[in-house]
Amino acid sequence: MKKRTPILLASLIIVPLILLAWFGVRLQSNQQELLKLQLGALIEAQLSDVDAQMVQHFARLQDALDQQIDDLYRSGNFTFQPQAIDSLIKQSPQIANVFVMEADGKRLYPMRGSELTSGERRFLNQIHELLATPNLFYDKPRDPTLVTPSLATQSAAPEQYLRSEPIAAQKAAPPQKITLRAPAVTYSADIVQADIATEQVVVAAQPQAGFDTAASGWIAWYADTRLHHIYWRRNNEGTVIGFALNGARLTADLITNLPTSPIQIQADAPLHNAEIRLINSRGEQIYAWGQLAEDALVKSSKPLKLLPLSHPLGSWRLEYYAPALNVQGASWISMALVILATTLGLSVIAWLIYREYQRDMRLAQQRVNFVNQVSHELKTPLTNVRMYAEMLEQSLPYDPESERSQRYVGVISNESQRLSRLIDNVLSFSRLGRGSHTITPMPGTVADCVETVVEHFTPALSQRGLKVVYSAEDRTLVQIDCGALEQILNNLLSNCEKYAANSGEIAIRSWSDAGMSYLRVADNGPGIPKADWHMVFTPFYRCSNQLTDGVTGTGIGLGLAREIARSHGGDLVIESSDQGASFLISLRTDMPPQGAQ
């Protein structure tokens, strides 16, 4: 009882704490997961933005190239003039080379037969295979990002060409125009306009007659371990014009479109503590921007997010680098604080409860002590009352005159005996509670003890219409604490007296078996309802029904009797019977005499 209280109190603290901690951890991890997802979505949006920018760049490039094609076509009276193409290549920063091929595969530019420059020869070498597969410019690729040659029987388009449709018109207005042709100087002695550096090129153009807008697209392929881009367009006669872009310039333009990094780390700037890298098809970093610190850069060797770019930069990708997410540091601290506060609060409450409990315990103890003291104080005068009552009974003459006095004295004697039993019970109970109740077995017979008790009870029982029938099957000498057995029987019989009045016979039978002595006490009274069986031994419990109404009692009798029986190595149990209550007492009676217990 005393140990259980602190354990209970401790669990009062610990259980909520564990629950709180568990919920806290769950909450935290959920929140972290959520944050991660949100961050992931944010990063992806950022990367997609960049991708869109790249696509937009290609779209602008495509517009500018289309414009050039229209100009070339128109200025050459609906043919391509080699001189015009020459001068375009010479002036355009973006275009490295141009080829024109007729429907039958005949090359119009760079011109056949005429002398080629070394650069043109290199270029033709590079695109030799490309020109040998004219269906690259005809069949539509099934998948805009992919490659499959559709005509297997014909010379199939080689796998290395990544083809795509022209880039669809972009919704957003292009923020900057691409001037494909560098402002030209007109070679005449006449005075030309002083401001030559104005934009000459991009004029709004209607879809040109002779050109089917659908018949155009991008081809990207690898040669010399580098990605090359060609934009081609086919007119209605099947003549294809292709622009090979200056790869380095294209890269530089893409870089130019991307943001720069701040000089000093700024907390509020975008990409604080993060970096985006543009990675080419060979896995090399082309460009990086952001403000990830150099040491963090070393640590985060794996990108948080990866986004492959759209065609025509199909094999390139964007990588997002940032240190692993650990924003929850602060919330862990607050979490720990909450747990600490809860612990403190609960501990204070538990301590207060414990103190209250201790005080109550002390109070109860004082009361018990008081009852003990009183009982002791009562015992001595009661003994005197009994003794003198008995002496008086014996000294009274045996005549009708004194019969009345005789009866009075008998009542006094009986009642004082009852009182002393009650006091014995109280004292035994408190001794049991203190654990100082001892059993002292002495040689004796069970029957002697029982007969003593029965003899004591006979007057009181007969007054209430009861009669004890005792049958002893065994009268051997055993080791028994007669006082203890008497106290058990006292309790049982006084219960019978209280609750089973006028029910006739109380049968007591005793026997012994294998070192145990058994006693069965059975009455013919109303009995104990089965539902109460387990409760009747509980101290201070009294069955509440019409039977017990109006009957006084302490409620400790049966419990005490069982405790005494148990400390005598036996037990006291209720047995089921057809009529009335039946108790079985078992005692260990082969114990060595006194002291070994």
Binding site: D253, T256, Y287, A288
Partner: protein, 443 residues
């Protein structure tokens, strides 16, 4: 303020008068074409050299200088730490002090990423620009390509063919982020040149890739310099700015048309396009009073004795920055054929021949470097020794101290080729020297 504006008001008509005078003089680029052997032996096919020389006219002190649009691209990678970055900062600041508020400057720095330190701006508050530059601290990798790309973008904001548009790149390390092959950088240079920008590359220390730097400069017709010690940076920046501020013509296109069966063999030292008998090449700019020339090697078919044989037509077009006009020049290269050895011998144009020999030897040295790169030290040595003999012969016969000096150089190069330890530095020196000789760089 009032006095100043009054002075300006007074100055303006004066300036107009001066300008009027100068444009009345119609100052032009001086084009001279000459043949190394103006008189050739008849009845035999032979090779000879044509020199096409262009010289910028003189800048007058009184007239307003051509405004410059300069992007300084500084390497601030980890290897620049310490004295290097400090010197680079100071050199840039010193050089910017020479500009005035008509000029535009931008400063871009790069490590593994690119930062725009000073966005393209008019040079009015030099202190603020200097402050921003002093904020550059070195660490990280070398994203050279991206740095140049962004530098060019800053130029583009005020791109004007009537300005001198130039990126000045300073790097001390290998480009290890982004495109890094000499070819790719060359392509970028070519593309920028088409827009009217040129890139000057300054290699600092012994860590940079000289091929990449010379390609980038070469294709965009900028200057190139190898600076071993950071203290020399200030000087080089001053030279470079001097050059930039003395540009008189831009967008120089040269077209040579060989006639009468004359076959062009090669252009020495510069990039050119040869299509049949037509050769086209370009220079981004011409500087005041500086001679730039092109040496064309041609093969002339056998001719009978003749005079005024037309070898080639040379056409040059350019933008005169002072008159803001597109101008063009034309010249015809003439040759004679004679049976007389004496006549042929006497007619040799020493200056032209000297320049041609210089370039031929330069090309040979280039070949020697290539051989040395392949590890064939002996072959490289023998090329240089052959070169020395060639230079010696010509130097003696033309009585040219310049060629003899070059011969001594070639011999010394052959000596110093061997050591693996010093090769890195030697190669940078060689590359720089070859580049300067090929482009007639002023410093």
């Amino acid at each position: 303020m009032n006095i100043q504006s009054a002075a300006r008001r007074l100055m303006l008509p004066l300036l107009a008068v001066v300008m009027g005078l100068s444009s009345a003089q119609a100052r032009e680029i001086n084009l001279t074409t000459s043949l190394a052997t103006p008189v050739m032996s008849a009845d035999q096919s032979q090779k000879t050299f044509i020199k096409i020389s262009l010289e910028g006219f003189k800048q007058e002190q009184s007239e307003a200088r051509i405004p410059a649009n300069i992007a300084i691209v500084l390497d601030k990678s980890g290897s620049m730490q310490g004295e290097k970055i400090q010197q680079a900062r100071e050199a840039a600041i010193m050089a910017i002090k020479r500009l005035n508020e008509n000029d535009i400057v931008s400063v871009v720095s790069y490590d593994s990423r690119v930062q725009v330190v000073v966005p393209a701006t008019r040079v009015s508050d030099k202190h603020q620009i200097a402050r921003a530059i002093r904020n550059i601290h070195a660490n990280g990798n070398t994203a050279l390509f991206a740095g140049v790309s962004k530098g060019a973008q800053e130029l583009r904001k005020f791109l004007d063919l009537n300005k001198v548009n130039r990126v000045i790149l300073l790097s001390d390390g290998l480009a290890n982020v982004g495109p890094s092959t000499p070819n790719e950088l060359g392509q970028l240079g070519l593309s920028l040149a088409k827009e009217g920008m040129s890139v000057t590359t300054i290699g600092l220390g012994l860590g940079y890739n000289e091929d990449l730097m010379t390609q980038l400069a070469g294709y965009s017709d900028g200057n190139h310099a190898f600076v071993e010690n950071a203290e020399d940076l200030a000087r080089i920046f001053q030279y470079e700015f001097g050059d930039v501020l003395s540009v008189v013509a831009q967008g120089v296109n040269i077209e040579i048309h060989c006639k009468n069966g004359v076959r062009p063999v090669r252009i020495l030292g510069r990039e050119a396009e040869i299509r049949g008998s037509r050769i086209t090449t370009r220079m981004n700019q011409l500087y005041s009073e500086q001679e730039k020339f092109i040496i064309l090697e041609v093969e002339i078919p056998a001719q009978s004795e003749a005079k005024n044989f037309e070898v080639a037509d040379v056409g040059v077009s350019y933008t005169n920055l002072y008159s803001k006009q597109a101008q063009s020049l034309r010249n015809t290269v003439l040759a004679s054929f004679s049976q007389s050895k004496k006549q042929v011998q006497d007619a040799v144009d020493v200056k032209t021949y000297e320049a041609a020999a210089e370039q031929v030897a330069n090309e040979e040295s280039r070949r020697a470097i290539e051989l040395r790169d392949k590890g064939d030290i002996e072959a490289a040595k023998s090329v240089l020794k052959q070169n020395a003999i060639y230079l010696d012969n010509l130097g003696q016969s033309l009585a040219s101290p310049k060629l003899l000096e070059q011969k001594a150089e070639a011999l010394q190069d052959a000596e110093e080729l061997e050591s693996d330890q010093d090769w890195n530095k030697k190669r940078k020196e060689l590359k720089e020297r070859l580049y300067k000789r090929a482009t007639q760089q002023s410093y």
